[in-house]
Symmetry: C2
């Protein structure tokens, strides 16, 4: 995992990087759009990937999209990723089986 995915940024830094208020960031988490980790004491820790996602979210909100729609969108994205991986695995196995017939 690269630096981009390390959950290490405090919400203040994320707010500065994205230009979003603390309230908005917390709300988007509440709606399940992002999933920061928590320190032992309970403070949120974000990754740069989260920061990028938040900037995406901000754009979509500006376009009048609602949080649950954005969430659905992300679910679809994830499903696509899974489908892709499944396809690749199937292709790999077919390929292996094919070689055995030679």
């Amino acid at each position: 995992m690269s630096y981009k995915d390390k959950k290490v940024l405090p919400i203040g830094s994320v707010s500065e990087l994205t230009g979003l208020s603390l309230r908005k960031i917390r709300y988007y988490e509440e709606r399940g759009l992002i999933l920061p980790e928590r320190s032992g004491g309970g403070t949120r820790k974000f990754s740069f990937t989260d920061v990028e996602k938040l900037m995406d979210i901000a754009n979509q909100i500006e376009d009048g999209m609602q949080t649950f729609e954005i969430k659905k969108l992300y679910k679809k994205e994830k499903q696509k990723d899974k489908d892709k991986i499944r396809d690749e695995m199937i292709r790999g196995q077919l390929n292996a089986a094919f070689k055995m017939t030679k």
Copy 2:
């Protein structure tokens, strides 16, 4: 500037990533080995580059090197970088002058 150079990490995250105590990190700053930025309120903000540098420093300390030696080393590195840039600029200008003679 990439994510790696953004000064956004709190000292706690840096401590976790490097395995160094808060005391050590602050001390290495005091000795001028790293230069985190400060938030408006005065809290330190580090970059991933700082994190990498700290891991380097930790190794050198383990090898018995003293902080002022490490600092000297970094100064030399910087000087080399400057020399390199100067060389490239001179070469670029010579090249341009040479083309004009054609």
